[in-house]
Each structure stands twice: as C-alpha cells, then as structure tokens.
C-alpha cells in the first residue's frame, strides 16, 4: 500500500474543506484549521489495481490574518490549488501560492481546481486566463462541492500524476 501526502492550498473560503468533506475519512474537526492551521483527512484511491492512500493536509486558506504555513507543505507529493470560480481574486491568489509552494518544496504534481462550478451564473473567471495556465501545462479541473462534480476526477488525476513521478 502506497501513501502520499497531498496538500490543499487556496485562498480563504474557496471551499477546500467542503470540496473533500464528502469523500474523505476524517477524525478532526474544522476547528483545527483555524487553530493549528491544518486539518488532516484521508482518502483512499484505487488506481490500476493499486490502492493509494492520500493523506490530505487541508491547509487554512490564506487570508489577511493568517499566512500559509509553508512548513506544512514539506514532504508533499502533490497538491490541489483551489480557486473559487466566482471570485477572480482567488485565482490570482492561487497563482501566487503556486509559486510560493514551488519555491518551498520544488516542482511536484498539482491540480488547479476551479471550484463552485455549480454557480456558473456568477462566474467571474476570465476564460482567457484559464486557457493561459492550461497552456503553461497546468491541469485544470472544474469542481463543485455541492454536486460532487470533478472531485473524484481530481483525486484520480493527481494520484496518477504522483505515481508517474
């Protein structure tokens, strides 16, 4: 059985926690995020006859009060970069975070999740910008915590990428 440490980073209130809540095993409450700055969950993925255990470090969304604790990133094999599709600034934040993470722990697989896709009517994201990052080789998946869209796909894709490394 293979285990991998996976982080979830993103701006505050992008729906990181809700996104995985229904799909993971959890023993810690959300209080940990606001206190210790991280909440740890577990997700088991079946991939090509192989079982992969993802230990998800759901990091507190960076806001004005709390910076991302880069030390939590150490040892990660991959990460999700979560963006709230209805708030453009969270996309910009994600780009900054991505470079911070890369600086801290190097280049590892990651997936950009454009969350809250169920609220497409209020979508703020510029398609051109998204296309640009796709062109840079980023894997972009639209997701919704509410409908579950893209969540399993995101886990599977990231797992695949991590095992390829």
């Amino acid at each position: 059985m293979i285990q991998k440490k996976v982080c979830m980073v993103g701006a505050f209130a992008t729906g990181k926690t809700s996104l995985v809540a229904r799909y993971v095993r959890s023993i810690y409450s959300a209080v940990y995020q606001t206190t210790v700055g991280v909440k740890i969950d577990k997700k088991v993925v079946q991939l090509n006859e192989q079982e992969l255990t993802l230990i998800l470090w759901d990091l507190h969304g960076e806001d004005d009060f709390q910076k991302l604790r880069l030390s939590y990133l150490r040892g990660s094999s991959g990460y999700f970069l979560v963006v709230d599709g209805t708030r453009q600034e969270t996309f910009d934040k994600a780009c900054i975070l991505q470079s911070q993470v890369e600086e801290a722990i190097g280049t590892i697989p990651f997936i950009l999740l454009l969350n809250k896709v169920d609220l497409k009517d209020n979508w703020e994201l510029d398609n051109a910008v998204v296309a640009e990052v796709r062109d840079r080789g980023w894997i972009v998946i639209e997701s919704s915590a509410k409908t579950g869209t893209g969540v399993e796909e995101a886990f599977m894709t990231l797992s695949q990428k991590m095992l390829e490394v």
């Binding site: 293979i2 285990q3 210790v36 991280v38 969950d41 939590y72 094999s77």
Partner: protein, 676 residues
C-alpha cells in the same frame, strides 16, 4: 636531496648506455632509444613511492612552482620553448650524454619518433615534485571521497583510517585553544544538558510525589520490608511497585512527510486512524516550531493530556511516538530511543528512499513491539480480602479488649479509692501491670482486709497482688479498738478515744477491771491518758436488788387479769430495780432474767387457775416491758394454785391472786466483735 641524486644516477646510467651504443648500428641505437623511453616512462611508479613532504619547495628553487605546473601537456609549444628553468635544470643532468651526441642525432630522434625530450622531462618533473602531486590530489580529493562513500564498507575503512588523525587533531585543538572546540559544540551540548537535567528533575519530582503518597500507607510497611530484604532503597521499591502505565500505541512516522510507516496497538485499545494521527502529530510539531521561538534542532518530545502522554522520540528521518496511559518510568524513554536508533540503522536506505511505500518497515515491528510495555502495581486494590478481614478481626479484638480493659481499669480505680478511704490503710502505689494489678502500702492489723474488699469490687483476687507493710494507726477508732482488745471491758462499759488520745471509759464494771484498765490503758499505743467514770459493780448490790425485786407483789382482781388499782409505785420500783440489776450484772459479766410468776387462788379448777395465772404473768410482763424493761430479759410463768405464797400477812386467798418476781443470773455470752 638524496632522492634527487639517486634519480640523477639513474638518468646518468641510461645516458652512458646511449654513449656506448653510438658506435653500433643505427638500428641498435633506435632500439636502445626506444628502451630508454620505455624506462623513463616507468619512472612514475618509482617516484610515487616517495613521501610528499620529503621534498618541500625551498627559496633556492622558487621557479619550480606554478608557472611550470600551469602548463598543460597540450601546451607543448610553450613548454618546449625551454624558457622554463625547470626544464633546463633537467637538461643539465643529461649534459654528459648530449655533449657527445651530435645535434643531428637529436634531430634524427625528433624526425623518427617525434620525440619531445622536454615533454618527457616535464612528466618526470611533475611526478617527482611532491608539491605538484599534492596539488593534483587536492583537486580530486572531494570526488575521491564521494566515490569512496558510495559503499558502506569503504566508508567504515576510511573512517577507521582517519580515526587516529581526527582524534589527535581534536586533542591538539583543545590544547591550543579550547574555545574553538567549545564554541563548536556549544549548540549541541547546551540543549543536551538541559534535556538531561529536565529529565532528572522530572524523575525526582515523580519519585518524591510517590514517596509522599505511599510512605504512610500499610502497603508502605511491606515495601520497607522488601527494601530491607532486597537491599535496595525504599524509594526504588516504591517506584518499582507503584508505577502503573501502559503503552497503548506506537507510531513510526516518516519525518519528512508525516506518513505512517508502521504502528503497533496494545490489545483491546481503541485506536483512532493512525495515519491521520501521525500526520497530525507532524503538523503539531511544525505548528509549535512555527509558532514559538525554538531552535530548528529542537522538536516536540512530549504531549500530555490528563493521564495520557504522548512520548515522541525524534530521529533524523523517522519519529517514534508512543501513546502512554498512566505514569511510565523514564526507562521507557531509553527504550524508545534505542528503538528509533535501531530502526535508523536497519532501515537507513529504505528511510532515505521512502516514496510512500511502507512495506519495508514491517521488519521494524519487533522493535516497536518491544516498546509496547506495561507496568503494573503489585496487586490490584480490590484483591486484598485477606488483609481487610484480618484488619477487621484485629479491630474487633482491639474493641473488645479495649472495652474490657476500660472496665477493669474503672473497677480497679474504684477499689483503690475505697482502700484509700479506709482507716488504717495507706496506699503508696497502685498500678496496672502485665496480666493484672499491683498494690502496695501500709496497713494497720486492725484495718479491714484489702482482699476481702476485692469481691465487692468485682476484681479477680488472682489478678491482684497486694504488698502491705503493718503499721499502727493513731486514728481514734483504731486506738479504741486496740484498747478494747487489750482491756476486755464488760459489755456495760463504753470506751471512747477523743482526738487528743484520751481514752474514756463509762458504764459499770467490777472494781478489779477498773483497776486493771487504769494500769494498762496508758500502755496502749495512741492512748495519752485514761479517764473513767465506771460504776463499780458489786455482788452485794446485785443481791440486794434481787431481794427487793423478790419482795414485790402485784395483786389482781378475783378471777380477773386486771391489776388491783394503786400498785403503780410497786411497778415503778420493779422497773428501776430490774434495770439497776441488769447494769450491775453486766459489770460482773452476768446476764439477768426476771421471772414473772403468776398465781391463782384455789377456788377455780386447776386448769382454769393455771391459765389464769399465766395470763396474769403475761399481763405483768407486758406492763414492765412497756415501761422500758428489756423484754428479752423477762420470762412469764403461770403456776396456778400449785405454789401458793404463804409468808405474807395477807389472807392466802388475796395473796395468791397475784404475780411475784424472781431475778436470776446467767453467765454472760459476750460478743467480742468490738462494738462499742
């Protein structure tokens, strides 16, 4: 320079060989040259054996340094320009040969073999010069060591080879300037010492706590015995016997990723998802490091929550965390440390190459299981029914014994009080002793017997030991008693001792007794003087009284039990005489009896007369008793008409219708009981 000269000799030999061959055929010369080249080419092996330090650069040879060395083998042109003094000095060594050679031969050599003598010389010089060689080696030293450490076995050999040198270097460094080394190791030593002191203090506090808690319990006495028996300190025994802990869970965590490598759980322990717990532990460690000012080398080593403690032992690549319930001894820390060290030794490569696959760490299970320790108390609290039963019996026994003892002591106290209040007894000592009581003091022989009083006190005479010294009490009752014992007074005499010790005697007694008493009384201990008001008792007085009583007659009506009126004076006289006679008789140690004899005249039937006479006697006796005569001294007798009186002047008919009196004496039966 001895080595250099030997080298010179070698070169000289080959030159000579060159000279000799000059007359031979050209082919031979060429062969010779070829050989020479080969020999020269083998020189490096010869020179490599030379010690580097044996040929240091000197001021006299300043030009043997870098300018030449910097010339690469490819730079032949610059080198062969013979501008280098080094090259020329080598050339000088070959001078004897070249002198004889024709320059055309040299040209021939160059033409045939493109033979570059200066190149050869340069190579030789390079190999000969230790400094160049040192410089060459230094350029590749790092790579060489890195290459070397690829293999574990090689690393060990290199370390062993360098050991002495490194040790010596450290020693020299400390001797020269100890601050260098102390500054270097300070960052390590400080925290280490702090940790050790903290651990020792914690241990001490723990010991003290438990000592206080347990030093007063009944269990503590058993432990004291055990300490004596096993020759260990009491504290050690207490610690050993009271620590109760259980290592419930052991996690082996990959340090970098926080991923769980392996875990063991004690039986029947309900454990949370260990993978999440181990990641969270790492997160907390990072959290503390980020949030507080701590050195990067320091890390979380203990988390405590109530009686659950998380002991964390950090290794460079893996962490061992033990969830411990209760108070574990500090030896557990040692166990954890040894385990993590062992795991690092055994799985170094697997740890370094860890990519999420924990399978190789299944082999670490024995080390983890060794940490799954449990410490018990000697016996569970409820498992001591025998002790409590024994305790209850002892307490009941103590209760009964205590009650009994209380009662005994109370009775004893009352007995001693009673004795102390008794005249003629002085208690000096009264004590409870093993199995009973003891009492000692002074006792007048006339005082009450202490043993006789025991039965009143409900004390067993067997349990009481009395030790009495005889003495004479001067209390008046005792003087009196003593006087009575000695003087033997008649019952009609009363003895009394007043507080001044004067013995008073009153009553009636024979003259002889009175005289004897006067003689003896002063000799009685405690009697200061004898005073008596005793009437002398005389037989003649008694007889006279007897006669007067006998002369009296009380007359009755005809056929009746009623006295004829006017005889009151007779009755009064009788009473007076009887009492006087009784007193006198007592003084003479006699008792008196008054016989009251009733009579009847012969007119009636004898039976009627007897009854009538008895009734008349009874009537008279009752009348006397009513007037103060002791009824015990009176005896009423009816004689009917059988013993008629004849002597008086009265007609017989009236004379015998009466009661007459007769006083008789009996020997006195005296009580010697000592009543006064």
């Amino acid at each position: 320079m001895a080595d250099a000269s030997s080298d010179d000799r070698a070169v000289h030999d080959s030159n000579q060989r060159l000279n000799q061959g000059f007359s031979r055929s050209e082919a031979e010369i060429l062969t010779e040259l070829f050989k020479l080249m080969q020999e020269t080419g083998s020189h490096p092996q010869h020179f490599s054996a030379e010690p580097i330090a044996s040929n240091p650069p000197t001021a006299a040879e300043p030009d043997r340094t870098l300018p030449v060395r910097s010339a690469s083998p490819a730079g032949d042109e610059a080198f062969s320009a013979a501008s280098s003094p080094a090259a020329s000095s080598t050339s000088q060594a070959l001078q004897p040969a070249t002198d004889n050679l024709d320059t055309s031969l040299l040209e021939l050599q160059q033409l045939l073999f493109n033979f570059d003598q200066s190149h050869l010389n340069q190579l030789r010089e390079r190999l000969e010069n230790p400094e160049w060689r040192a410089a060459d080696i230094s350029a590749v030293l790092r790579q060489a060591i890195e290459l070397h450490t690829l293999e574990q076995e090689q690393v060990k050999r290199l370390a062993a080879a360098m050991l002495k040198t490194v040790e010596q270097a450290i020693q020299d460094s400390v001797q020269q300037d100890e601050t260098v080394m102390s500054n270097a190791i300070f960052p390590i030593v400080g925290p280490t010492i702090r940790k050790a002191i903290a651990a020792a203090l914690e241990n001490t506090v723990q010991s003290l706590d438990q000592l206080l808690e347990y030093s007063l319990s009944p269990q503590a006495w058993l432990w004291r015995l055990e300490a004596l028996r096993t020759r260990r300190s009491f504290a050690e025994i207490v610690l050993m016997r009271t620590l109760q802990f259980r290592v419930e869970q052991i996690f082996l965590i990959h340090r970098e990723t926080g991923l769980l490598l392996q875990e063991v759980i004690a039986p029947a322990v309900k454990a949370q998802d260990s993978e999440l717990v181990s990641a969270m532990l790492r997160a907390i460690d990072s959290f503390v490091q980020d949030s507080f000012t701590v050195k990067s080398s320091e890390s979380l080593d203990m988390l405590r929550f109530g009686d659950l403690t998380l002991w964390i032992e950090q290794g460079p690549q893996a962490i061992l965390a033990a969830a411990v319930r209760g108070q574990a001894p500090l030896e557990l820390r040692q166990t954890l440390r040894q385990a993590i060290e062992q795991i690092h030794r055994d799985h170094q490569l697997a740890l370094a190459a860890f990519q999420g696959d924990a399978t190789p760490f299944a082999a670490a299970l024995p080390q983890l299981e060794a940490c799954l320790q449990t410490g018990y108390r000697t016996a569970p609290k409820k498992g001591r029914p025998y002790f409590w039963a024994l305790f209850a019996v002892m307490m009941a026994g103590l209760g009964i014994g205590g009650g009994h003892e209380f009662l005994m002591r109370r009775r004893w106290g009352m007995y001693v009080d009673r004795l102390q209040s008794e005249p003629g007894i002085v208690v000096n000592r009264a004590a409870r002793q093993w199995g009973g009581f003891a009492i000692a003091g002074l006792r007048d022989p006339l005082a009450v017997d202490p043993v006789a009083l025991l039965s009143d006190s409900q004390l067993d005479p067997e349990t009481v030991t009395g030790k009495w010294q005889p003495y004479l009490s001067l209390e008046p009752p005792f003087i009196t008693a003593r006087a009575r014992q000695l003087l033997q007074p008649p019952s009609s005499v009363t003895l009394r001792v007043d507080p001044e010790g004067i013995l008073h005697a009153t009553g009636v007694a024979p003259l002889r007794w009175i005289q004897e008493a006067q003689r003896l009384a002063p000799l009685i201990p405690g009697v200061t003087r004898f005073e008596q008001q005793v009437t002398i008792a005389d037989w003649r007085d008694l007889q006279a009284s007897q006669a007067r009583i006998a002369a009296q007659l009380l007359r009755f009506e005809e056929g009746e039990t009623t006295l004829i009126a006017g005889q009151e004076a007779t009755i009064a006289l009788l009473v007076q005489e009887i009492q006087k006679a009784a007193r006198l008789a007592a003084g003479l140690n006699r008792q008196v009896q008054l016989q009251v004899i009733g009579r009847a005249n012969p007119r009636g039937t004898p039976a009627r007369n007897l009854a009538l006479s008895q009734e008349r006697a009874n009537q008279a006796a009752a009348m006397l008793a009513a007037r103060g005569v002791n009824s015990g001294q009176i005896k009423a007798i009816g004689v009917g008409a059988t013993q008629p009186l004849t002597q008086t002047a009265l007609p017989a008919e009236q004379l015998n219708r009466s009661v007459s009196f007769r006083l008789v004496f009996t020997n006195s039966v005296r009580s010697r009981s000592g009543n006064q």
